[in-house]
Symmetry: D2
């Protein structure tokens, strides 16, 4: 059986990545592609790398007959997404890639995003889309909220450690190195090649990055009390990839064993041998996440490092993984391709 798929926001990077992945999926068919400002164009005009594929032209959302759609991916900008989803059929399965349904508490949403939420009922209904930790909820969900790409990476490093009692919960540092596609296809001066290549800088330093809302929500829930981490992202001159370096206090061997146990049966999360560390070069274009643990020379301090591709495992790959669950497909279908190296 072939599932009919719609993608809203098909002219952005996460939209294109969804298309790349779904084109290889044996049981999905792209039935509608929407992109407001580029409606009427072909996908090949907007993304020439998809020229070999045969799709309907980009349209406006209101042109889609959602009665024919089995599942809809929303790759729309934050704030737009909640307004669009509010008006979609209430029985339509949806995977949202925006930030709009990640935070369950309306006050937290408003604190981090600056506006009151416009679709409170849906916010209540949404399941947080970190597949490995919400698998059963996602399987039963109608609306899944894809995680932030940084938030996903940091949680793969830290989630198993928090309820395990193996690290100090008041002293967690997460230093991220993020490739530029995470910022989307936005026309901003600092995203120009001439400004970005050949150098690096931190941004949103000091606890202002919105993905902290996700960390706070999830880690506090796991710990049963407030947990606040330090999180500093850095922009690196690469198109894909996030490397998360986490500094935690606890026995490194216990940290390692906790992570190994948590991920033993996971198809996409791979623990490296103790003492080895991953590279974003080795996950590019794939749905895999590599994690390594190293003991510092100072006792009871561990460094945990994770690498994944922000557009795949951090966003569109995760979305497809969730859609597989929601549609009763094997979770890994269409997602086992090897990374592209070099």
């Amino acid at each position: 059986m072939t599932h009919k798929i719609a993608i809203l926001g098909a002219s952005g990077y996460t939209g294109a990545e969804l298309v790349r992945l779904i084109a290889e999926h044996p049981n999905m068919e792209i039935t509608a592609l929407a992109a407001e400002r580029k409606a009427g164009q072909t996908m090949a005009e907007v993304f020439p790398h998809l020229r070999h594929l045969d799709f309907p032209r980009l349209c406006k959302i209101e042109q889609i007959d959602f009665g024919q759609i089995d599942l809809c991916f929303c790759a729309l900008p934050h704030k737009t997404s909640q307004e669009v989803i509010r008006d979609l059929p209430s029985d339509l399965k949806i995977v949202d890639l925006s930030a709009d349904f990640r935070l369950a508490d309306p006050d937290e949403y408003e604190k981090w995003y600056g506006n009151p939420h416009a679709a409170l009922t849906h916010q209540d209904e949404a399941v947080y889309g970190l597949t490995e930790f919400y698998r059963e909820d996602i399987r039963a969900a109608r609306l899944v909220a894809g995680t932030g790409c940084n938030a996903a990476t940091g949680q793969y490093v830290l989630r198993p450690l928090i309820p395990a009692g193996v690290i100090d919960l008041d002293d967690i540092i997460l230093d991220l190195k993020c490739a530029v596609s995470g910022a989307g296809r936005a026309l901003k001066e600092n995203l120009l090649h001439a400004e970005l290549s050949e150098g690096t800088n931190a941004y949103a330093v000091g606890g202002t990055h919105r993905h902290l809302g996700e960390f706070d929500q999830e880690f506090s829930k796991l710990a049963g009390r407030a947990v606040h981490i330090q999180f500093t992202p850095h922009l690196i001159p690469a198109n894909r990839g996030i490397l998360a370096t986490s500094y935690v206090k606890g026995d490194p061997q216990s940290v390692y064993e906790t992570l190994c146990a948590a991920y033993a049966d996971e198809p996409f999360i791979h623990m490296l041998p103790f003492g080895e560390t991953p590279s974003t070069h080795h996950v590019r274009g794939s749905n895999f996440c590599h994690i390594g643990v190293v003991a510092d020379r100072i006792e009871r301090r561990a460094i945990v490092i994770a690498a994944l591709d922000n557009l795949t495992k951090g966003s569109s790959g995760q979305a497809l993984q969730n859609a597989n669950l929601m549609l009763g497909e094997p979770e890994t279908t269409g997602l086992m391709m090897a990374p592209l190296f070099p």
Copy 2:
């Protein structure tokens, strides 16, 4: 039925690319991986991006039981390849990715490569591996000689034009822009990131690049008389991709129509609308080749530009395409994945 595959030279870039592709092939199974200097290591140690795949350890060639192998890819260095292939079972299907069997004339081989050929019988037997133009020969072949990656790109631009009488055969210029993985995983100063990134330069200028041997052989055969082109490759700071800009004299519309006719039914060669030109960004990691034709402001001059991924369509993808034919599989199996962008 699953074909059992061996790869000799699995620790280089074309070897790794073969593994990436074959891992997705529904009817092939990698049975043996050889790499002389890294024998005994796992593939994950040599190429951590393949960590999720389960393979036999790298071995030495003599450890392989070729009686169990249905097809063998040789991704060995030039000169080594002919010596190895000479000693392999004479009924083993082989796709060679080296330069050793590309030139049919032993004198031409010696002229371009500097040493007498060590496997003349095999040289005689080998079929030139430019799939779109030798499809039936390849289907029947035992030994196929993969083309040079630059030679493939240039031929996609020029081959249909040469016998068609639409261009001046004595005035053909081919200016190539080549990514660095074409040079392999060799430890050379000019391939270091610090020497290569953020700039460009020509190399092998003036008619000294060995792929000219292939151009001369093929174009002269097509024309029925000697054809010598000018060919200047340039190294660009990118990992994958070749852009071939060809300057030819003839009616641009006829040039375009000739190419369109030649490639109308080809699954991997895509003609852009007249006047548009391709980008290597849009074929990365794929087996596609995009070709565009533009009329110059000067009458009867056309610019033809092709883009492909040197490791895929220019090398390992081509090799798999040929192997599919040799094994009776559909030619496109395992090769229709979309390019990775951005």
Copy 3:
């Protein structure tokens, strides 16, 4: 004696490059910096790499007291520049970096730029700023029109050859590889890091690039008859540098000797030994141009390749070289810094 300098358009890349160079000039002082949209900001806010320098805040053009200025650099957008310069004091020395005064013929200007020229008197007065070939005119000029960066590179390759009778004037091909800063600080999708890095493509193919207006004007004047070349620029993933590969017909040794003779006493133009070719890596951040000549394997065909930094020798360095002449300073003052490598 210190010359007082104003820079109009200080918030773009050529403006910033002028500041970088003039900051090291012993006899120039930056008195005014104008940037319409960023007026009121400090230079450090707009270009943090100039943080260590002490300048007046960015202002609007009308705030500048031009009576105190000895020389004014205009690094404004095309079309804006002619309107601004028309209204500046008629005795003010000006080096314009825009395209507005490069073409002497108003019809040619309108043909290439699409609008009638708004300052015809100044267009008539302007001297073409290719220093090595208009040195004495520039010394005496009030208004100098900086050349296009591609136009400069192509002319360094070809100018001496055209009147020398050593090449076929009807068969000249110029294939350029251009770094991205040549496109300025404009917010365009194709200039984003994610779209540009790791690949290459041609643009303005077929004789549509505006710098052809300069080639036509200059080469025809030199030849005493119409000369039209083929010119194809390509965008490469680097921030600075142009590599011009020219294919000409003539005796390579004569071509080489003609160029050597022309540039024997030039401080910034360096001929490589015959048979060697230059790299943009080796001129980055400098005012030097390296040129190499190679004989093709086909008789009477030569390949001439030049490399320079588009922001320095191709634009702001050239502008300063011209300003030195106009102000009676030694031509090389402030311009002999070595390239930055790696």
Copy 4:
């Protein structure tokens, strides 16, 4: 008066950077350039970007008449350097760029570098070359040991804080992002463009990087008791630049004021406004170091970030700054050039 300068190890990146800088120095003249394996070649052959400069050919060290040399830079590999310096004239002024004389304690040296020191007397005599903190000692020194480039960056962030009592000395984390030229011109697989570009990874994780020897020595001396920090370097796909992100515990405003006070009169160290952070893009090719301080959302936690160019301020620029002091020149001579951006 012109100082006669020799550079030993002129074929590496720090050697080339010294030449680039000294070529602009008004009172220094390069009299001898040594490079063992490339002796006999011209500097233009080894580094074509220095083609415009006129130097003696590369020679072997024993060919240099040190009686004529006023100051000698040693840019030799670790271990080689101590053996060479041991045999140089005992009154020759030397700035060593290797690691050989950075650690004062022979046991610490052996612990971090794995071999007993071969020039103990010189080790005793050497002054640690972090100019801003050892200025008077350097002025009087005969032998100055240039610091590690990572060690310099980390110390600019942390040194003033350690004796000031404003941070917790037992909980300091230093997360570095390092460009590739810091690894030198070595032919290693992980330094190839194809392996390094478009991604990032940590290395020497857990307290094994040799620059920790310098941190331990200096910070413990400043604190009057043992201070051990956590230090994790990451390789980023850029040629120049180090970004040091430091996580410290203390009042952010006090941290900021301490750093501002320490660097108020320093010509090369620039404090950004409180809350702003630096970028390696903005120091490329210069001798400047930019430092920013941000308060984390968690009380009494500060993030301090510094950016410098590893080849200039981190190595050869520092060396020239020290040489200026040793020769009685103004410290900033030849070092005030602006960064290259973009």
